[in-house]
């Protein structure tokens, strides 16, 4: 006999032996390359002065020296996107979500648990925003364009030469391709154009890219050489904080390249699943890459005294996230809101290299 809906009345036929409220963690991803900084302002600026890489020319003693000027400065101004996630915590929410999940029936401190339950919802909303930050960081690494839905996408103007398609002949899946030559090209760009002084690069890709690399005949040939050790590929070491897995180190040209995979995903607003990193791309980041995750000022309401009277006044709060709660006593409803204005912002824009390594 099939289980009927009446059987779900647990006092009759069953016992709750466990509860599971899924809480998917948001791993750090590229966040280690984007340390956080808050600002009080709506917009944030980046001041840039380029270097012509000139060489000095000797002069004859006691004659005029070479005159130099440093007269060009570029100011880049950005307005971070604004995120506002709301959760309406109402009377029925208490019954349906909290008590129905079994957290209140036998607990004398039920009201505290209800409040904690509300806090969990806030944490989940914050996780949504954190995923958007991870997406921004991955956008910077792959295209240099932070995609916005209700704003103008922010284009950091990466050089075309920093985003290459290796082409069918050099895709890692091609038996005659030489992946180490492509890795060397990445390091050469980062050193020559990006002015990176780091000889160690981090190559971050999806599992598909790594699988193609490890099975590429030319790569295998060099990795298997027992007399010249230019590749040390190991069992994966998963980092539970970043979500990256380390697979070892290879050398290409002058560069040592750490091999990482990053296979974390998220669910888009339309319900489809997407990965932060494209399956066919690999990004190369030197150790001296600099970037920030900047949080713009957040609009808020604060109580102020105006002429001896208390009044709620608009204000700006400098914070990564701002939690606000507003309630209506008659309808016993409360809205919990979390806001944030984050922007992943590269500083050394030419110290990122992206290659399409698969078709």
């Amino acid at each position: 006999m099939a289980i009927t809906i009446q059987n779900h009345t647990k006092t009759i036929a069953s016992k709750v032996v466990g509860t599971f409220v899924e809480d998917k963690p948001v791993l750090a991803g590229f966040s280690g390359f984007f340390p956080r900084e808050t600002a009080m302002t709506l917009q944030v600026d980046l001041e840039v002065q380029r270097d012509n890489d000139s060489i000095a020319v000797d002069v004859k003693r006691f004659t005029e020296g070479n005159k130099n000027k440093f007269s060009i400065v570029t100011e880049k101004k950005f307005q971070p996107p604004y995120f506002r996630e709301e959760y309406d915590f109402q009377n029925d929410e208490v019954y349906m979500s909290t008590i129905a999940l079994g957290v209140g029936l036998e607990n004398s401190n039920v009201n505290a648990i209800i409040a904690q339950n509300a806090l969990k919802k806030i944490r989940k909303m914050r996780s949504k925003i954190e995923r958007s930050i991870r997406k921004q960081q991955a956008d910077v690494m792959q295209t240099g364009i932070v995609e916005l839905i209700n704003g103008d996408s922010i284009d950091y103007k990466r050089k075309a030469a920093s985003m290459v398609d290796l082409g069918a002949s050099q895709y890692f899946t091609n038996a005659s391709a030489d992946p180490l030559a492509s890795l060397k090209n990445a390091g050469t760009f980062l050193r020559d154009v990006g002015a990176s002084s780091s000889m160690t690069l981090n190559m971050v890709m999806r599992g598909e890219g790594l699988a193609a690399l490890l099975t590429n005949p030319k790569f295998e040939e060099k990795a298997n050489n027992r007399r010249i050790n230019r590749a040390d590929v190991q069992s994966p070491e998963f980092n539970a904080v970043t979500g990256f897995a380390f697979h070892g180190q290879v050398s290409a040209g002058d560069f040592n390249i750490n091999l990482w995979t990053y296979n974390q995903k998220y669910t888009k607003a339309d319900g489809t699943t997407a990965y932060y990193l494209d399956a066919n791309k690999a990004v190369f980041i030197p150790d001296d890459f600099m970037a920030k995750t900047v949080f713009g000022g957040l609009p808020n309401m604060v109580d102020r005294q105006i002429g001896g009277e208390n009044a709620a006044m608009p204000s700006i709060t400098e914070a990564e996230f701002l939690l606000r709660a507003y309630s209506d006593s008659k309808t016993m409803s409360s809205t919990l809101e979390i806001t944030s204005a984050p922007l992943a912002m590269p500083i050394t824009i030419d110290r990122i290299y992206t290659a399409q390594v698969l078709a």
Binding site: R50, I72, V73, T74, E75, Q79
Partner: protein, 147 residues
């Protein structure tokens, strides 16, 4: 000395401005005061700005006019002033002008068709300026506008 600001890549969420600072006068520059007059013929408005060459106004004692390709031998200084439009003939403006010192030759505003190597009698224009006491340098820019 001036700063120009050029905006690019402007959207609702980003904007880039390139600032370029121009320092014509570098070292040991001495100045004199004068009155610059518009002496265009045929009559027209005239824009005067920093870095232009000036000669004496032979019609009015004590006044200056902007040098042209035909009177480079008479150059006596280089303007140091805010950009001004002299609306019509005989319109004047009080200015400072440099009479000697180290200058960035690349920032001079020479008359149309004139370069520092333009022949003036048996000399080049740069020799004329040297004779006045200007030392002309090709100052090397060490920065650039990029992405």
């Amino acid at each position: 000395m001036s700063i120009t600001a050029t905006q690019r890549d402007a959207t609702n969420n980003q904007s880039t401005v390139d600032y370029i600072r121009k320092n014509l006068f570098l070292y040991g520059v001495r100045f004199a005061k004068g009155v610059l007059a518009n002496k265009t013929d045929p009559e027209a408005s005239q824009t005067a700005t920093i870095g232009q060459l000036v000669v004496r106004d032979t019609d009015t004692a004590g006044q200056l006019t902007l040098a042209t390709a035909s009177n480079l031998a008479d150059v006596l200084g280089i303007t140091f002033m805010d950009t001004t439009i002299l609306a019509d003939n005989d319109a004047t403006v009080a200015i400072d002008y440099a009479i000697r010192g180290d200058i960035d030759g690349g920032l001079l505003q020479l008359p149309t068709g004139v370069t520092l190597d333009t022949t003036v009698g048996n000399k080049a224009l740069r020799d004329v300026l040297n004779d006045l006491g200007f030392v002309i340098f090709a100052v090397q820019e060490q920065t650039k506008i990029d992405n």
